[in-house]
Amino acid sequence: MNEVPQMDQSNFSLGAAASAVPLAPGQAVANKLIAQKVSVFYGEKQALIDVSIDIRDKAVTSFIGPSGCGKSTFLRCLNRMNDFIDNARVTGSVEMDGVNIYDPSLDPVQLRARVGMVFQKPNPFPKSIFDNVAYGPRIHGLASAKSDLEEIVVTSLEKAGLYKEVKDRIHEAGTGLSGGQQQRLCIARAIAVSPEVILMDEPCSALDPIATAKIEELIDELRENFCIVIVTHSMQQAARVSQRTAFFHLGILVEEGETSQIFTNPREPRTQDYITGRFG
């Protein structure tokens, strides 16, 4: 964690993924999520101040910023995980495909099936690998027959790049896998319910560099089918995996734009200071 780059910004290697999303001819820029003036209060304290951002579909958007800047808080607004924090209050609106997810008529449980989430620390259920992935489809009734369920599990594991490694021990405990495998299992679990958006809250912070590389590769593959939002402390990671980057500071969305633009030519001096390691 807290990999604060000590280097000059020119040392950033912007991976292929970081280049602007090549849009096919005729394809319009599609925004999956549109947040408007989102503020979050924990009791009296305001943790997030009027954040407005459009998040594109079929692309990776990364949130960067120093600790406590509100990027995780904002991420949790996108699938209403903040509902479980007793004194948290959210104002503003977040529209997904034109529907406000804070509308009282919208069921937050179903929303969370559509907006999957991967957490900082790999948290597989203490059950078998199969049951881990099958849990979501089971409770949402996605598979009517056992063979359907098996297909979903296998496909999800394949998409998460884990199937080859675990196909012989799919009924063994998911907690017996290595950290990186566990995190990919969690990703497989998230995509098994066919979400439209996947939120990732520092998914690599508890992993070693090799496992991190695999997850990053996976994220790059997944963006073809999902809208992905990732919170990261590592600016190299943001640069490597995301097409768009948003910089948060003290609860304010300071700057948002194409990743290459944010890292090479930030408009805001605070962004400039942060990515060059002057604070944070």
């Binding site: 957490f119 597989p124 949402h140």
Partner: protein, 554 residues
């Protein structure tokens, strides 16, 4: 920078001299403190183990005698003339049994002796015989061998708990004798032993004309008073001399009428039997008053010399219900009563406790009301169990009119006692489930109740079970509340056992036995405590097993 700040800065940069004497002292002090703490801990543990060891060993030493039973194997002829095959249960088994034992002792003829003979055997023997005949009607007319228990005094005699003979004199009596002997006032041995006293033959107490009507007891009393001026001592010293000492004095005065008005020095008053024995340097013993006659010992010895007495495992302790006769008293009724009460307790407190804990921990809003409930639950866990007993008495028996003494009510009261424990341990177990699991389930779109039912509760279950079992073990040992709702009923049969039948429980049985005067119940009480402890150890063992086997490491 100001001067103060400079100074503070200097203080911060001051070098610690790690080799200084002050530092060495500080180090030494720290080591000593470490050692002291360890010694306190070790002492506490040693003390606890020592006390536990003392408790267990004293129970075992006292209680093992209840695990075997002195029995005699008797040949009994099942006289067809005395047994009606159509009504097997109603024959005169007492007579059949007495005939059988009297054949071994043909010399016993008088009714008193016959009764004394049958007193050696347990009162239950005739019922054992009846049960045997009812079970084996084909044996009527045959001679069968049957093992019957000895009655409690003889069982205790065989176990060495009570002796055949006991010391005749108390320590105080021996001390009084010792006092006289040390003054050189005791002379001779055995039957010749005598107490030497100077007697003034007061002419006012003995008329020379009519010596036999003299007040010899007063004269001897005056003489004893001259040894110790203590009327109590004098009165008790009369026990030391023989009852006919006055006759001896009378005979002496008739023979020597000239002594009247004189002082007879060192008059020898003969000692009574036990003190005579004591004067010979032996301990005077008397026949133990618990037994009817010494002949009973002879008869018992004869049975033993014919190898008819054996000491098998006392299955009665586990098979029988309680009884007035310690040799027959068993724990079956109490174990069954405890079992039913615990079942009821479990069925009430387990679902109720878990439901309450899950609601409070997972669903309840955190406000003043839930805080109040939480504080009160914690307080309930500290309420003395006797208070719950009174509550049960007032509510279950008096208000709801449920029957007294029944395991259903006992279990309900025990459930009240265990509920706070179960709620507290369940909440702790639920809290111990890491939040990451909840987040993971919520993240794939599980609802709150799915998170609890599918993940949190199953993961907390080993911890919950541990708490429940420890709560039940606690309930198993509760005595006071059961006494209050009358679950110390005397139920000498195990035929009618059920939720709504009067019953007793293990701890109340122990209480009742500890209160019984018969000597055999002392060992029975210890044995019952061992059985109760055994159950507790097993239950705690299960709790530990569940914890080890199913608890997950994160």
């Amino acid at each position: 920078m100001t001067d103060a700040a400079l100074e503070a800065d200097a203080g911060f940069n001051r070098q610690q001299d790690w080799a200084s004497e002050a530092n060495a002292r500080r180090l030494k002090k720290r080591y000593a403190a470490n050692r002291r703490l360890q010694i306190y801990g070790l002492t506490a543990i040693a003390l606890a183990i020592g006390l536990l060891g003392t408790l267990i060993s004293s129970l075992v030493i006292e209680g093992y005698k209840a695990f075997y039973q002195s029995k005699a194997t008797l040949e009994i002829r099942l006289d067809p003339a005395l047994i009606d095959p159509s009504n097997l249960a109603d024959a005169n088994y007492r007579r059949i049994f007495n005939t059988a034992i009297e054949q071994y002792f043909p010399e016993v003829t008088s009714p008193t002796e016959k009764r004394q003979l049958s007193d050696i055997f347990s009162n239950e023997s005739r019922y054992a015989l009846r049960d045997y005949v009812v079970a084996n009607p084909g044996q009527i007319g045959q001679t069968v061998k049957l093992k019957v228990s000895l009655s409690d005094p003889f069982d205790q005699l065989e176990k060495g708990v009570i002796p055949r003979y006991v010391e005749a004199l108390t320590d105080a009596e021996k001390a009084r004798f010792e006092f006289l002997a040390n003054r050189g006032l005791i002379e001779g041995r055995g039957a010749d032993a005598a107490l030497k006293v100077n007697l003034f033959i007061d002419p006012q107490k003995v008329n020379a004309a009519d010596i036999p009507s003299g007040q010899f007891r007063d004269i001897i009393g005056d003489g004893l008073r001259s040894i110790v001026r203590n009327s109590d001592f004098v009165e008790r010293s009369f026990d030391i001399i023989r009852g006919d000492a006055t006759e001896v004095l009378k005979a002496h005065l008739i023979a020597n009428p000239g002594s009247i008005g004189q002082i007879i020095e060192n008059f020898k008053l003969p000692l009574s039997q036990h003190y005579g024995t004591l004067a010979s340097g032996q301990t005077p013993m008397v026949f133990n008053g618990r037994f009817a006659s010494e002949k009973q010992f002879e008869w018992l010895d004869r049975l033993k010399s014919q190898n008819m007495v054996s000491y098998p495992f006392a299955s009665e302790l586990f098979v029988n219900a309680t009884s007035r006769f310690p040799e027959l008293a068993g724990l079956a009724g109490a174990i069954a009563g405890s079992f039913y009460a615990l079942m009821v307790c479990f069925l009430i407190s387990f679902p109720l406790g878990i439901a309450a804990a899950v609601y409070l921990e997972e669903f309840a809003p955190k406000n003043r009301w839930t805080d109040l409930i939480e504080v009160n639950i914690n307080n309930l866990a500290a309420v003395p169990s006797v208070v719950f007993g009174l509550l049960g008495l007032a509510v279950f028996l008096n208000t709801f009119g449920l029957p007294r003494s029944v395991p259903l009510v006992g279990g309900m009261v025990l459930a009240l006692i265990t509920l706070p424990t179960i709620i507290i341990t369940t909440r702790a177990a639920l809290k111990a489930v890491p939040p990451s699991i909840r987040e993971a389930a919520l993240g794939v779109g599980a609802s709150k109740h799915q998170v609890v039912m599918h993940h949190v509760l199953p993961l907390a279950m080993p911890g919950i079970m541990t708490g429940v079992i420890i709560g039940l073990a606690h309930a198993l040992g509760e005595t006071a509340p059961l006494l209050l709702i009358g679950m110390n009923a005397f139920i000498p049969s195990i035929e009618n056992i059920g939720l709504l039948e009067p019953a007793t429980a293990l701890p109340t049985q122990i209480y009742a036995w500890a209160d019984s005067p018969e000597r055999g119940f002392v060992a029975r009480t210890s044995a019952a405590i061992l059985v109760l402890l055994g159950f507790l150890v097993v239950m705690n063992g299960i709790a530990i097993f569940l914890r080890q086997r199913f608890e997950r490491k994160w």
